[in-house]
Each structure stands twice: as C-alpha cells, then as structure tokens.
C-alpha cells in the first residue's frame, strides 16, 4: 500500500496535498484498490464553492459508484479533465496523473486537521 508521507488523508479515503494556497485532491491507493478498475469520473465545475465533507465528485468503477467528498472547504480552481479519456489513471497513478480536483482552501486549519499517513494507515488496517 503506497501512502506518501507528505499527503494528508480524510477518513473517507481522499488525499490532499496543500502547497501555495492550493489543495490538490484525489483518492488513496487503498481506495482505488478497493474500487477496482475505474471506468468513469465525474468532477465538479471549476468555480464551485464547496464545504468540507460535501460530495463533489463521483468515481464509478466496474464494481460501484462512489461519492468523493471535499477534504477541505473552499473554491474549486482546477479539475483533471484528462480523466474523461483515461479514467484508469485513478488506478495506475492515484497520487499523480489520477488527481481529481484542486481547491483553494478558505480555512487553512481544515487541512491540518486531516490524518497524516501513519494515522490513515492505522485507520484502514
């Protein structure tokens, strides 16, 4: 299980990387493994105001449709449009090419409150 140390994790299996006022988000290696092959991803509109814990994206795998929740509150500033043609990147590269959306956080303390890699690892084992 690949759980990079520099990322923060939500209990609902999203990861979040905060740098320069921008939180890039996706789903964890554990989550993609549980879902199986991802065949369709629905991302939010750029500019949408979102609250932490709000369902803002959908990942459909061969097995099921899963809501993806915003790990932090703020404004969606970019989404990964490449996933429309290659949703399998969520499986193949969950922390790089398979990112889902980026949020400009409205409250920096929310990201700090997410789990670090070791706490997340403990939560799924």
């Amino acid at each position: 299980m690949n759980l990079p140390n520099e990322l923060k994790y939500a209990a609902s299996h999203e990861w979040c990387k905060v740098e320069e006022g921008r939180a890039t988000c996706g789903i964890s290696d554990y989550a993609q493994d549980q879902l199986g092959d991802v065949v369709f991803v629905e991302v939010p509109d750029v500019g949408r105001e979102v609250a932490a814990g709000e369902a803002i994206a959908v990942v459909e795998s061969v097995k099921s449709a899963s809501d993806i929740y915003a790990p932090v509150s703020g404004t969606v500033v970019e989404v990964n449009t490449a996933l429309a043609d290659s949703p399998e990147q969520v499986n193949d590269s969950p922390y790089e090419a398979g990112w889902l959306f980026a949020i400009e956080p409205s409250d920096a303390s929310e990201a700090d409150a997410l789990m670090d890699a070791s706490a997340y690892e403990a939560s799924i084992s």
Partner: protein, 369 residues
C-alpha cells in the same frame, strides 16, 4: 463458513482478491477485471467454476422425468454427448433455476446448475422425481474450470491427457465428453468459444498449472459477469427468478411447446402468456450519456417508471455502459434511467451486445427489440 474450491491456493498464489460468492471463497479479480475481460475476448482466460452444482440423473424414467421437469425438451438431444440449455419452472411458470443438461446415453444425464440455488434445486428435483424410477446423485469433490476465448480450445487441448484431448477435439459447440479422467464440454458463459472442464479435486492444481503454462490467464468473477452481460446471457437471481417466466425474459427459444402431449411443469401458465402476450420483457439498454448503468436503477418514460435494470455495468469491449432491464411490453421510445437522482437517456437495443468478440451496437443503431 464459506467453502473453498480445490483451486483456492492457486487463486491466492495468482494474486486473486478473494470474496464470498454464494457461500464460496472465489476471486473477484487478480488485479484488473478489465484486463481479464479483454484477455478472454482476445485470447484465452480461465474461471474457477467448481462451485457449480453437478447432478447425475439416471434410472429408467430419467428422460420422462427431465421432459416434465424442464421447459426445454431433452428429447431433442438425439445423440449422446449433446447439451441443452433450459429453465426449470415452478407451477406458476416462474424460473426456479436455469441450467445445462448433458445427455450421455439413454436415461443418463448430467445437470449443471447454479451454486446459490443448489439446495432449492435438489429439493425440487427430488419432489418431482418422487414415485418414479429416477436416481439423482450430486457429484461432490470436483474442480471445474471454464476456459474461454478465441484461443481457448487450442490452448486447452494442448494441456490434456490423450483421452480427454481426443474427446475434447471431437466436440462441436454444445457437445460434451465424459471420460475416465474428467468431463469436458464445449460450453461457456462468455459468448466465446471454449470448454468447461471438470476434473477430480486431486488433479485440480496440476490442470491449472498446465493451463497457465499454455498461456491461459486466470480471470475472476468480475470479468465473468461483464463477459456474460455483453453476451446477453441471463444471470439467475438478477435477470431471472421465481417470479418471472422465460417468455418474459427473452428466453422463448428455450421453451419447447412442439410436443403438445408433453406436460412440463409451468406449461399451462406459459401457454396463457403465449396466447395473450406478455406484459413485460427483458430488453437491452445502452446509456446515451457518461456514467455506468447498475442493477435496480429505475427506467422511466417521462415521469412514469416502466421497469428497472436487472443487470448493468461497463462493457469493456464496446466502451459503453450496457444493461439488461425488465420493462413493460411493448415499451415506448424515449426512455431515461434514474441515475442517482438524475434522468439520463438510454436506448433500447437488441442483445447480445457483443458477438464473436465484436460490438454489435453500431449495426443495431437504428433497430430495437
């Protein structure tokens, strides 16, 4: 406690993700369901189907018993080694199970039916057989592999003992050979050519290993489901159950009415449906939007629900989302699916969705069932 098939260790060694399926520990995939699916369509893959129920039917009344038990007519199995797909019905014409029956000699048959309905099926068969000269013998301790795909026949034959290879090579589609060291049938559940091969549990590991060395890829339950859905084959418990008849399930071709003296169970109800027409039918659907159709999603005409999806999913071969749905019949045009609160357009299409490894969707664009 879930049961393990004789190939459990092989699944774990091959990286299989094991799940509980109808009380059996079986692999859902070995890494990627989509890769396994393509492997079967393009080359050869194998599924562990040891959980399926085998019942040997013998006795002086065996043929008469099966002609009463099944909606299809075993009398058309004129030569030994022929196989027949049929539904087994209740008195109301509902489907107790769907199965394949193989004839090996006069009054000598093998029935292969679903794992989840094993006890129910056997109890029903015993009740129907009561008072007649019929012996029903479940066959435990078998390992069965379905080897499927355009290269499956050649790759499998290269691994078999000479007796099984000779028997297997002689088989046309829907024929079977029962030998000393195993049972081999040219049948399957993917729409591809291939074999279903049953061997004693003691030779399971060796059979598996030789198939792997011949280039046959392990494939899991996930790919088995997406392959059978593309092939338009019903799954008992999803598309078929005790409350629907074969005539309401696009399975009229499996009901043999020709011998008017044959009083198979459920016949009176099916005769009524045949005379009056059915009010619901199984149809193929393709999603005309992005997303994935799933079982139990409602199908609507305007704001009126006219049925629901019985099996749905992503079809790797066509790149589309496809489904089987039971809708009121005849069904109107302009249908939508309720997908998580949104109405998205779906088109009714004939199935199978994939034939000989190729999508049938484009050629069907203008037609409907």
């Amino acid at each position: 406690m879930p049961q393990r098939t004789p190939l459990y260790e092989q699944h774990v060694d091959a990286g299989g993700k094991v799940v509980d399926f109808a009380g059996w520990e079986l692999p859902i995939n070995y890494g990627s369901q989509v890769d396994e699916h393509h492997r079967v369509r393009r080359d050869a893959g194998m599924f562990d189907v040891s959980h399926m129920a085998h019942t040997v039917v013998t006795g002086g009344d065996a043929t008469a018993f099966l002609r009463r038990l099944l909606a299809n007519d075993v009398a058309k199995l004129a030569t030994d080694g022929r196989a027949l797909y049929s539904c087994m019905l209740n008195e109301q014409g509902g489907v107790i199970d769907d199965l394949i029956v193989y004839r090996f000699a006069d009054n000598q048959y093998r029935v292969i039916s679903n794992a989840a309905t094993r006890e129910k099926d056997l109890a029903w068969m015993r009740s129907v057989a009561e008072g007649s000269d019929v012996d029903l013998a479940p066959v435990p301790g078998l390992a069965m592999l379905a080897i499927q795909g355009p290269q499956a026949v050649e790759k499998t034959l290269s691994t078999l003992s000479s007796a099984l290879a000779t028997g297997g090579r002689a088989l046309a589609r829907f024929q079977a050979f029962d030998g000393e060291d195993g049972f081999i049938a040219r049948t399957g559940y993917t729409g591809e050519d291939g074999f279903e091969l049953a061997v004693p549990a003691a030779s399971a590991a060796d059979t598996w290993q030789r198939l792997r060395e011949a280039g046959v890829a392990p494939a899991g339950l996930g790919a088995r489901d997406s392959l059978r859905l593309e092939a338009g084959m019903a799954l008992y418990g999803n598309d078929l159950d005790d409350s629907v008849s074969p005539l309401e399930s696009k399975l009229a071709w499996t009901v043999d009415f020709r011998d008017t003296a044959r009083d198979f169970i459920g016949r009176p109800m099916l005769e009524t449906q045949r005379r009056d027409g059915v009010s619901r039918q199984l149809v193929g659907l393709v999603l005309d939007a992005r997303g994935v159709l799933r079982g139990h999603q409602g199908i609507f005409h305007g704001d009126r629900q006219i049925g629901e999806i019985t099996s749905g999913g992503f079809s790797p071969t066509t790149g589309c989302s496809i489904a089987l749905a039971r809708l009121e019949h005849p069904c109107p045009d302009g249908l939508t699916v309720d997908m998580r609160g949104r109405q998205l357009p779906v088109n009714v299409v004939p199935f199978p969705f994939v034939k000989n490894g190729k999508s049938t969707l484009n050629q069907n664009e203008e037609s409907s069932t």
